[in-house]
């Protein structure tokens, strides 16, 4: 980077101001009691995530995995062009629901996060938050070459190049842009991995939690949320 005149740079020296509702404030209860509230501490659980332990008996774990493979609920969260390719799967032509796949509007009800294209820094922040709010066991699929190496936007000032540095990816689907059939095949491949017990991204995320957090904070400069939000 060349040294430039700094007069038009944004002011990054001063502390990033928190949004109004995120600042510590006081609330008066109906009985007159005054309660101090620090939203970043009180509204979120600061407990770090735990490893989802496997069952002691292999046959029980296999049964769990078989059941998990038949209940893939996708978070209806679309980035980039892949969000368009995901929609035909909900239609009668491709009908993903026959495989036990369905879309949910909130991360609390979903266990599969499909990052469907190029990811900007601003969106990455929301994706991390959505992923952490999903209940384990959970899976991440990177769709399209943008999530693998940045795709055709790799040299942009705002595009993530290696998605697996920020969230644990269980499966990549190549292509630019993959057709709905490929996404369908990818999800079936993910089901195979889950049945074999190889889709352990959520546990990898917990075991390398510090590494993932360091990577995320290296890119996201205004980190005004708890380290782990769920």
């Amino acid at each position: 980077m060349k040294d430039m005149d700094k007069s038009f740079k944004k002011d990054t020296e001063t502390e990033f101001p928190l949004r109004e509702e995120m600042r510590p404030h006081q609330v008066t209860a109906p009985d007159g009691q005054v309660i101090d509230i620090d939203p970043l501490q009180d509204y979120f659980c600061q407990e770090p995530p735990k490893v989802h332990a496997k069952s002691y008996f292999k046959i029980v774990e296999d049964f769990y995995n078989w059941a998990r493979a038949h209940s893939l609920w996708i978070l209806g969260f679309g980035t980039g062009c892949g969000a368009i390719e995901m929609r035909p799967l909900m239609t009668p032509r491709f009908d993903a629901y026959r495989y036990g796949i369905q879309w949910r509007p909130t991360p609390r009800q979903a266990n599969l996060l499909v990052i469907s294209g190029y990811l900007s820094v601003k969106t990455l922040k929301r994706a991390i938050r959505a992923y952490e709010q999903m209940p384990a066991p959970k899976y991440v699929v990177g769709l399209g070459s943008c999530t693998i190496n940045g795709g055709m936007y790799w040299d942009s000032y705002n595009t993530i190049n290696k998605f697996d540095e920020f969230l644990p990816v269980d499966l990549y689907i190549t292509g630019c842009m993959p057709r709905p059939e490929v996404l369908m095949a990818g999800v079936l491949e993910l089901k195979k991995k889950i049945k074999e017990g190889r889709a352990d991204g959520a546990n990898r995320y917990v075991e390398n939690f510090e590494w993932y957090k360091a990577n995320q904070k290296r890119v996201i400069k205004n980190w005004n949320m708890p380290d782990y939000n769920w």
Binding site: F8, T12, G150, S156, N158, N161, K162, K221
Partner: protein, 187 residues
Amino acid sequence: MSTATDLLERFGTNYRISEVNEQKADLTFFKVPKDQAVRLLRELRDDAGYTHLAFLTNIDYIERGIFTLNYMLHNYDTRHTLGMHVDLDRDNAEMESIHNMWAQAATYQRELREMYGIRFPGSPRLDDDFCLEGWDQIPPMRKEFDTAAFSLARFYSRDGRGTEDPREHMKQQLYPTHTDDAPEGGN
């Protein structure tokens, strides 16, 4: 008003209009100095029927040391579009805000502030983050910003990315035995 001559006839006496370029029957570009721009915009909107601000964008002429703002106006009655160019000093880019004339201009001006660092004093929420949250470099659309170097430094490229010359690559794919040299003794 549909042609360049009409434009010059009507506004040429009061405004220093230059570089009139009639690109198509329904599209004309021209340039005015910075201090007359907003006055002319108001006159075009209120008297000449150019009521729609289609977009407001910026061109970075780094070799000439200027920014060129481009105000695109449309007249629904005559179906004519006017592009008004305004030159700004690149090192001290500042322009009068037009958010009072078109509300959507505030969003454009916010974007220009973030992407080029142009100041529009008085425009609402000008310094709030728009697309870039927590941006700590010079504005990314300025041409001196090396976006590829920045991307390599911050996002780390994945190994294995290569480039091919399309012409050579397709030649290899389609005609692997072909050579450009003329055959021995051939015509």
